[in-house]
């Protein structure tokens, strides 16, 4: 486990490299920047967790990667370099509709937070999973059905041969999320984007799904961009972590490094806010004061400054995400290296 978490990475091993991604919603003076200069890299076969609080820009990032931004949203700048299974590098920021259609499925696929709203209530789950195959492979109906059942078995849906003809409302929340995973994986994508795939589930069901995703990743050798707001899920799933705050990445590191040598004051604040094992009855959580400002009213310089215990005048100058140690980037004028969080 720890072995593959610490595996060395070479540039050729990068499947996705996001550089300087900015996304705006609305036009002219009404435009707000939902993403400001977001950068991170995802190594092949690894899981990168994108973690942050509500509104930090996690979903906008994934929608930009999938070419699914709503009409009011626009990529203002940045490169989204994706290495396709045949080894070519494609900038997703410049891909058109046809390009995305060819890529979605075998290249990149995505699973969403709310399975019920992304499944069509009028079609059987078998039809919906089979539909994904139809777009990319020329298979006969019987062969498609066989593959779908095989996939349902892979995601451990009991009685797959019968359930293939079930409608979404006939399944529990956990089963529907398994169906979503089956849909995401049927074309064997090189990169899976999972946007809070377990947030709507009970912890006991979440544990089943996380376990399943870990095993499928090993079996299929895919890379995962795992979006979550839960540091517990990060600790469990991630090889690498990028922490977002108010539309920007403030820290990126390997998972052990991130927890052991937390560098950015926001990440430290986040960790001190979480009830965890080992707190005594009189120990108190240390919350981050205040709340995230609206995107239209971010302060100049470091967006975290109004809530940061270390803020000073210099923090009003622009800060950028920079390496503070090998493989460990932080966007802060200070380097809180190696101190206990």
């Amino acid at each position: 486990m720890t072995g593959h978490r610490e595996a060395m990475r070479t540039p050729g091993d990068t499947i996705l490299s996001v550089e300087g991604l900015s996304v705006g919603f609305g036009r002219g003076t009404a435009r707000v920047a939902a993403l400001r200069d977001v950068s991170f890299t995802l190594g092949r076969g690894r899981t990168l967790a994108l973690v942050g609080e509500s509104g930090s820009g996690k979903s906008v990032t994934s929608l930009a990667l999938m070419g699914l931004l709503p009409p009011s949203g626009r990529i203002l700048s940045g490169r989204l370099d994706f290495r396709t299974p045949d080894g070519r590098v494609t900038d997703l920021a410049r891909l058109d509709g046809a390009g995305f259609r060819a890529l979605r499925g075998p290249g990149i696929s995505m699973i969403f937070q709310e399975p019920m709203s992304s499944l069509n209530p009028l079609f059987t789950i078998g039809d919906q999973i089979g539909e994904m195959l139809l777009l990319h492979q020329d298979l006969r109906a019987a062969e498609r059905r066989r593959r779908v059942i095989e996939m349902l078995e892979l995601v451990e849906i009991p009685g797959a041969a019968a359930r293939v003809d079930a409608y979404p409302h006939e399944l529990s929340g956990g089963m529907r999320q398994r169906v979503m995973i089956a849909m995401g994986l049927i074309c064997r994508p090189a990169l899976l984007i999972a946007d809070e795939p377990t947030t709507a589930l009970d912890v006991t069901i979440q544990a089943q799904i996380l376990d399943l995703m870990r095993r499928l990743q090993k079996e299929l050798g895919m890379s995962i961009l795992f979006i979550t707001h839960d540091m517990g899920v990060v600790a469990e799933m991630a090889d690498d972590v990028a922490v977002m705050y108010a539309g920007a990445v403030v820290e990126q590191a390997g998972v052990l490094d991130l927890f052991d040598r937390t560098r950015h004051p926001y990440t430290r604040g986040l960790l001190a806010s979480i009830p965890r094992e080992g707190l005594g009855p009189d120990d108190r959580l240390v919350p981050i004061p205040g709340s995230v400002p609206p995107l239209s009213a971010l302060p100049p310089g470091c967006a975290f400054a109004p809530r940061c215990p270390h803020a000073r005048p210099a923090c009003r100058e622009p800060v950028s995400l920079e390496p503070k140690a090998p493989g460990h980037l932080s966007a802060c004028i200070f380097d809180f290296a190696g101190e206990a969080a």
Partner: protein, 320 residues
């Protein structure tokens, strides 16, 4: 006055629906001591909200007793219940979605005071100002509209509103579940302060066991409407005597990448509350189920002071 503020005995709530009878809460008994916070946990559909609302008689229990400060409120008439309501309040997951959006924050908080004809206009204003300060907002927030506040601020407004009538007992139903962790920690600490400062008694309903372990003095674990285990938080958390609690605890993802994951994965989903399994309702998912678990609901077994498990195999499995 000594003794528990709340004593619940054999509380049952069933809903009769076209599909059949939903056994939402079955034969649940517990006490909540004064000035303490009782956590209520369980997967969705386990009956937490139903139990919380039945305690305040926002829904009528099917059977059982609820003694509040010695009075059985299940038997109170309408006017007596109205007076009793001053002493018990509820905070929802998003207080604003259940409140009148055309009232300013100050009027929302003062609504209960007005309904009971308490104080003059200026008295009420002063009271609202003090409440806003107490929950960490400022007095001039009273003239603003609720939609202009963030989730955490709205939760504080909901708490101020619940406190206005100086209740002794508060039910908080998933009150921090929708909040980001940094804000959630603010609200949890506020609830702890209020418990200590006002000697408040609380039922804190949550599906997040780690939040409950942090906040609560005691914890009750529900599954399919039945009590599985109840006891002091530390005992239930670290020395649980029930297979369901143990599975629930082991399923929490720990914010520690080095934490050992020796997880007991529960198979399958919660069965339908329309047709709960016979005997121990947990037996269809329990890793320790044995033939004897099918007949008769498990009775409470006392493990230690105030710590009870409702598992037939407690002695065998955990040496109690």
């Amino acid at each position: 006055m000594t003794g528990p503020l709340l004593q619940v005995r054999n509380l049952t709530k069933r809903f009769h629906t076209p599909a059949g009878t939903v056994h939402a809460v079955e034969d649940v008994s517990f006490d909540i001591p004064r000035g303490s916070i009782m956590g209520l946990v369980g997967e969705s559909g386990s009956g937490k909200t139903t139990l919380g609302r039945a305690l305040l008689r926002l829904i009528q229990p099917t059977s059982g007793q609820i003694r509040f400060d010695g009075t059985d409120i299940a038997a109170l008439g309408a006017e007596e219940m109205r007076q009793m309501r001053r002493r018990m309040q509820i905070i929802f997951q998003d207080p604003m979605s259940s409140l009148n959006p055309r009232l300013k924050v100050g009027d929302l908080i003062a609504e209960g005071l007005r309904a009971f004809g308490i104080g003059s206009r200026t008295d009420r204003r002063d009271r609202v100002a003090a409440l806003l300060e107490e929950v960490g907002l400022s007095a001039d927030h009273m003239n603003r509209w609720p939609h202009a506040f963030s989730g955490g601020q709205r939760q504080r407004i909901g708490i101020a509103r619940a406190l206005a009538l100086e209740p002794e007992f508060i039910v908080a139903d998933e009150s921090v579940s929708a909040l980001d962790v940094s804000i959630q920690a603010q609200v949890l600490n506020l609830l702890l302060e209020l418990r200590d400062r006002r000697n408040l008694t609380m039922l804190f309903i949550a599906h997040d066991l780690s939040v409950v372990n942090y906040l609560c003095d005691r914890v009750a674990v529900l599954y399919l409407g039945r009590m599985m285990e109840i006891g002091p938080t530390d005992r239930v958390h670290r020395a649980s005597a029930h297979p369901y609690t143990r599975a629930l605890t082991s399923a929490i993802p720990q914010p520690d990448p080095r934490a050992a994951r020796n997880r007991q994965l529960l198979q399958g989903d919660i069965p339908s509350p329309l047709a709960p399994p016979s005997g121990c309702v947990f037996r269809t998912r329990c890793p320790h189920a044995a033939p004897g678990c099918e007949a008769g609901a498990p009775q409470a077994r006392t493990i230690s002071a105030h710590h009870q498990s409702y598992c037939k195999r407690t002695e065998e499995l955990y040496g109690h």
